[in-house]
């Protein structure tokens, strides 16, 4: 029994300060990511979330060069980009795609330069990897309390806006008809998304941030039909995945090549993917559930155009 315990939690796990920080952040950030993530998926803004995360690289590397904690750089950059996205969103759809693509690639290009400068500046070779792929074990002083506080703020605002946000996510048209200021609400959500993406970026890196934001949400959509329950479930999936990732990463110090732990983010993302795949077996994932009696009614089938006749050409 004790042997198993030690195999699971390598010696020193419960006394290590970095582990404690990782567990705390891993218990808070995924909750925010889950709730925001479900709205993101519902609103079809996964790409916006990904862009915000990717652009965090620019803010993070810039902040490091200036000697500021990367979190602030990522956050500032995210808010600025969210504002630009909202402005661009008022124009035509095609123009928006072009603008997003152009801004995204330009920003990543500049990030490449900044990361190069960071590497050249000497002693800090690990920064690039930390920024891109995160490290829950390497969070500096102010970062942990700041992240916790920001996460709570994000959750509070989300709870306040919950109903109008849900309605406008289902249908902006319905929300507008009820007097909801759909545009302001869209901007508010984009800022919350930037905040959540920044928190995820610090936790698992700017590149893998999307996995923590979207993965648990996508898993939850397979498990439940209720909006609030989906958000709670997504949060739980995220927290459990992160904690399992932390345990495995700590254990991996003893794995080959010994003496160097495997990246935490790898484990976290791997567990999230596993959860998503397992959720595919859940009964709630099946279509047509939630109906009383026999599914469907005669004459109620959606009529999507005339049916194609079975011509000889089609039979061949």
């Amino acid at each position: 029994m004790e042997a198993l315990w030690h195999a699971l939690f390598a010696p020193g796990f419960f006394t290590s300060q970095p582990v404690r920080q990782a567990v705390l952040v891993g218990g808070v950030v995924p909750i925010v990511a889950g709730a925001v993530g479900v709205f993101t998926v519902l609103r079809g803004q996964s790409f916006a979330g990904h862009s915000l995360s990717a652009l965090g690289t620019l803010g993070g590397s810039g902040a490091f060069l200036l000697g500021i904690t990367p979190l602030w750089g990522i956050l500032t950059c995210g808010f600025a980009v969210a504002g630009v996205m909202e402005l661009a969103g008022t124009q035509r759809r095609r123009g928006r795609d072009v603008a997003t693509g152009l801004v995204l690639s330009t920003a990543l290009g500049v990030s490449a330069l900044l990361l190069y400068l960071v590497t050249m500046s000497g002693s800090t070779t690990g920064v690039t990897v930390t920024l891109l792929f995160g490290s829950l074990f390497a969070l500096s002083g102010i970062t942990v309390p700041a992240m916790t506080l920001l996460a709570l703020v994000c959750l509070a605002v989300l709870a306040l806006l919950y109903r109008p946000l849900l309605l406008s996510s289902v249908s902006p048209e319905l929300a507008a008809a009820r007097g909801v200021r759909v545009r302001w609400l869209g901007l508010a959500f984009l800022l919350l998304l930037a905040l959540a993406a920044a928190l995820c970026s610090v936790a698992v890196g700017t590149i893998l941030s999307t996995a923590l934001l979207i993965g648990p949400a996508a898993t939850a959509l397979r498990l439940t039909r209720r909006p609030a329950r989906a958000m709670v479930l997504a949060g739980l999936v995220g927290v459990v995945s992160t904690w399992i990732g932390v345990v495995l990463a700590y254990d991996s110090y003893l794995w080959p090549p010994a003496g160097k732990g495997w990246p935490v983010s790898f484990f976290v993302v791997a567990v999230i993917l596993l959860c998503y795949l397992l959720a595919g077996f859940a009964p709630a994932a099946r279509r047509g559930s939630g109906r009383a009696g026999p599914t469907g009614r005669a004459g109620e089938q959606p009529s999507s155009g005339p049916r194609e006749p079975l011509t000889p050409a089609r039979l061949r």
């Binding site: 519902l42 079809g44 109008p164 249908s171 319905l174 507008a176 008809a177 039909r225 109906r291």
Partner: protein, 304 residues
């Protein structure tokens, strides 16, 4: 069609009163001094082809578009943005099948979807949601995701969403456009029943008035940004619609159906009537156009 007395509308009791409303957008006039009133319990069809101005009228009534001139009164009071006494049913929902929103969630949001703040769902909220789902015969699929519902089922849920807040006026934007004939007829019957039972004014927009003829108390006919309002017998007449369109049109009655065709070419010759199929204004898609062409030629043959 109906025995409703109209022509003059009483100032008192009108749920909606539109007076001399014009809308200009981008240097173009979309509505030209339109006016009509809706009474409680009446089912009114807002009829016109695409681009005639139906959607603009609905947006004005919802308070989403301020008229350039004229005034809109809802229950005798000037329209504000948050007008609780107007319910709205959109044409369809663009939502993924796996979105975690059940039919009952959407109906519940009809009560408090505009409210900021956090509150535990109350028993009263649940009761009214349940009641409304029952009223539109949607209880069977109340727990299904809205994205998975068929067009007709979605319309029922959307109607429940609009009605659960107890509006006095219900607006439905082309609800029949995405439905097969049978589901469409069910939705029309449902809305007519609701109008009568709950004393709500229902304004339903459509490009074809025929599915509405059995239940429609009044018609607001839209063409070129102007309207003619009254009972179908008063409005859907050759001289009234010709004046509205500004060019001659013919109103034909065929087997209880009404056809409005461009009038200048109508002769007893069936071939010439086929030509008018292109100018008719009841059905927009080519399928309906063919249909009218054939019906019109039948009418011409009967006249002969």
């Amino acid at each position: 069609m109906s025995g409703s007395t109209s022509g003059e509308t009483s100032e008192h009791g009108a749920v909606l009163d539109i007076e001399g409303v014009s809308v200009w957008r981008g240097g173009r006039q979309i509505l030209d001094e339109i006016g009509f009133a809706l009474e409680p319990g009446e089912f009114t069809g807002l009829i016109g082809s695409n681009g005639a101005g139906k959607t603009t009228i609905l947006r004005v009534v919802m308070g989403l578009l301020a008229p350039t001139q004229g005034r809109v009164l809802v229950e005798g009071k000037p329209l504000t943005r948050r007008h609780r006494s107007v319910g709205y049913v959109p044409q369809k929902l663009l939502i993924d099948p796996d979105a975690p929103v059940r039919a009952r969630d959407l109906v519940g949001l009809g009560l408090d979807g505009h409210r900021v703040g956090w509150r535990m769902p109350s028993r009263e909220r649940q009761r009214r949601t349940e009641e409304m789902l029952e009223a539109v015969d949607a209880s069977r699929f109340a727990d299904a995701r809205v994205g998975e519902l068929s067009g007709g089922e979605q319309q029922r849920v959307l109607i429940a969403h609009a009605l659960v807040g107890r509006p006095r006026l219900l607006l439905a934007d082309e609800p029949l456009a995405n439905l097969d004939i049978r589901s469409g007829q069910e939705i029309v019957d449902l809305l007519a029943r609701i109008a009568a039972e709950q004393q709500i004014a229902v304004l339903l927009s459509a490009h074809d008035m025929n599915p509405l003829l059995p239940v429609m108390d009044r018609v607001v006919y839209v063409a070129g940004g102007r309207v003619a309002a009254g009972t179908t017998d008063e409005v859907v007449r050759t001289e009234v619609l010709s004046r509205l369109y500004g060019h001659p049109v013919n109103v034909l009655h065929v087997d209880g159906r009404v056809l409005v065709v461009s009038g200048s070419h109508v002769t007893v010759d069936a071939g010439a009537v086929m030509d008018t199929g292109a100018g008719m204004d009841t059905g927009m898609d080519t399928g309906a156009g063919m249909d009218v062409g054939v019906d019109a030629s039948v009418a011409a043959a009967e006249r002969r």
